[in-house]
Symmetry: C2
């Protein structure tokens, strides 16, 4: 497996584009993206568990019932959620695109991200679609990545190549996500494309399984969005024999998918609203996987731990506290904690009590921009990893006045 360039256009037959159509006031900011497969692709998706769901998710879910899609259209700047005419607008987005591209509206995935509860005007989208389509190119994956950004400060794209039965396949993705991120089942907006030939059933199976250990283990702020969605389109153009069951080839595909999704998780967490640091909590020694996941997420979600990391303060008592209230059954007298970064590792807690450590060394480690919080439970062989970020002044600033 190799990391490669090209993002969502790394796989054969995928074109993309991103433009400013006018949903956002800032003309420098692209606000409408399109991903297109030259042939219909098998498709799979997972959605937010929030009971308040964006209208585009309802429309997409209906369109993907047959497991096939050919295009993804997504706007930023407005979530098209909690609007009386939401479904109508989402249907218009997919209908207008389908008409222009001469494909079935049922083969369009539609998504929106931005402010909740403000009516989404179809006019700029309608007027933008011709140039959006005209600019489609295998070189424009990065523009599509830009068009879905909201408070993101960096575009997020990644791709890999891998071999299935001697045939080289490609899989790449783009993501947006910066605030209102606390997934469960699915998260944020992530669009993944691959030219690997795989049945839609196995594609859904791969995605549903993968998100449990990747996007579902990311939390920026504990708020599960109304519009989270991850979709994969597989157009089969690599020419491998179709993967239609479990086995070695499915495992290779899972590995490729996981490489891309973990990279996107790290990008999303590290670019959390206001974040100065990527936090990665690795739990080992758990009795079972559920315990490991619960503990890892609890630590990553603790406001006090997040604020301490912002301050590069080795206040490990807050990590213990978060483990204790996680709800997981843990013997707290066996817990060990250390902090790790490029500058080294420092043990701060052993068997549930503090150990002497150098505050200067801890500070040096915690001033880095990627911090691993390593938790050992000392009870079994299971582990889990969760991703998050520090809690900063800028998170408050961004969210104290997001709409204006």
């Amino acid at each position: 497996m190799k990391m490669i360039a090209g993002g969502v256009c790394a796989a054969k037959g995928f074109l993309a584009n991103g433009i400013h159509c006018g949903i956002r006031k800032n003309k420098q900011k692209r606000d409408l993206s399109l991903i297109y497969s030259e042939v219909p692709a098998n498709a799979a998706a997972v959605y937010t568990t929030n009971l308040v769901k964006g209208a585009p998710l309802a429309v997409t879910r209906r369109h993907l019932q047959n497991g096939v899609a050919q295009a993804v259209i997504c706007n930023s700047g407005n979530a098209n959620t909690c609007n009386a005419n939401g479904i109508e607008i989402a249907e218009a987005m997919s209908g207008l695109l389908a008409e222009k591209m001469n494909i079935s509206a049922e083969d369009v995935v539609v998504a929106s991200t931005g402010v909740i509860g403000q009516p989404l005007d179809i006019t700029p989208i309608k007027e933008g679609i011709p140039s959006l389509v005209a600019g489609l190119s295998a070189q424009n994956g990065a523009l599509a990545a830009e068009g879905i950004m909201t408070t993101d400060t960096k575009k997020k794209e990644v791709a890999v190549s891998f071999e299935v039965g001697g045939v080289t396949c490609h899989l790449g993705g783009i993501a947006k996500g910066s605030g209102m991120i606390h997934p469960n089942m699915a998260t944020m907006l992530v669009f993944i494309t691959t030219d690997c030939k795989i049945s839609s059933g196995m594609l859904q199976k791969a995605l549903s399984s993968d998100v449990q250990n990747t996007f579902n283990m990311v939390s920026i702020d504990g708020d599960t969005s109304t519009n989270d969605m991850v979709t994969v389109l597989a157009n089969g153009m690599a020419g491998n024999c179709e993967i239609d069951s479990e086995g070695a080839e499915f495992d290779v595909f899972m590995k490729a998918l996981n490489t891309v999704t973990v990279a996107l998780c790290r990008m999303i967490a590290g670019d959390g609203e206001g974040a100065t640091k990527l936090l990665e909590c690795r739990v080992t020694g758990a009795d079972d996987e559920a315990v490991a996941k619960t503990v890892a997420k609890s630590v990553i979600c603790s406001s006090l731990t997040k604020a301490a990391m912002f301050g590069a303060d080795a206040n490990w008592g807050r990590v213990l506290c978060a483990i204790g209230y996680s709800g997981a059954k843990v013997d707290v007298t066996r817990v060990g904690v250390s902090f790790v970064s490029k500058k080294g590792e420092i043990e701060v807690c052993r068997d549930g009590s503090g150990v002497d450590f150098s505050e200067e060394k801890a500070k040096e480690i915690l001033l880095e921009s990627e911090i691993e919080i390593r938790v050992s439970l000392g009870e079994g062989a299971f582990g889990a990893t969760a991703w998050g970020c520090d809690l900063t002044y800028d998170y408050v600033k961004i969210n104290g006045d997001y709409r204006t």
Copy 2:
């Protein structure tokens, strides 16, 4: 029922004091408090559900097994939690006090609050006990309230008088709590005293029931502390016939208790770390009480909603979002939301969709220091209230470098 002065000394026979003994470096800050009843009192308590528990809680739980206590000693500046010698130190605190006061060590409630994981030196406590005891007075309830403060900016005390069987009784309390507050079962440190005669069984019943709707409905930051505890001492000196069963007199006692606990909840939430506003989420129209509570707590805990309130931004979509991910079964198409303060009420969402409203009026309402978020679910007759505060720059500042 009347609100009265005196706090934890409002009830007959209770004396208190608070001093600086030297646990904290700042000599202006009292760090050791004592509450004393002239006669042994019936006692009840509830404790944190965090698996990581402060050593003083284990000692107190043992001491209260017989339902009787006569004194409460509490230090601030150090939580005496996750220390290998924690139990030993907590036992020394109660033992030294008992010896000085000539009471049984088993009748001492011991508590600590502050940094986790740093050994607590018994020396300043041992040296401070003589002057702590010498200064006991019915006028010094406020000093005890000061001695338990950590990042609190205001001392928290309240008291009421009420009639039981024609006899006037008094009930008052002090509390500390500003960060690491997300109670479940018990919360923060709250010490309540009353001269009402009530059996320890009924006292425990009253307290356990009351906290479900009061302290368990407060969240500052979603972090459940390791040291939360609420205790009530009832010394019977009012001279009423003992309340030993349910009935009208028990109801009066519950009402008095609830008046004091709700007032303390509001003080705690309004003084949350870095808070500029008290947030109160009142949910009505729920199918059952559990749904109402879940929804109210989810709204109060949403970082995005809290940051929006800090910015006086009527971003009601975040309230809907928090209702949607709460886990409660709610028909989101029936949800209504309005914001209320001294400046009036403004409806922002009806039947799950936005309504036109004046942004200026909303701003005026949200600039107040006490905000009610009113949520109607439109399904039944049950309701609940939760208390919290806004998320501010100062929360991050306070917690980015708490230890230094």
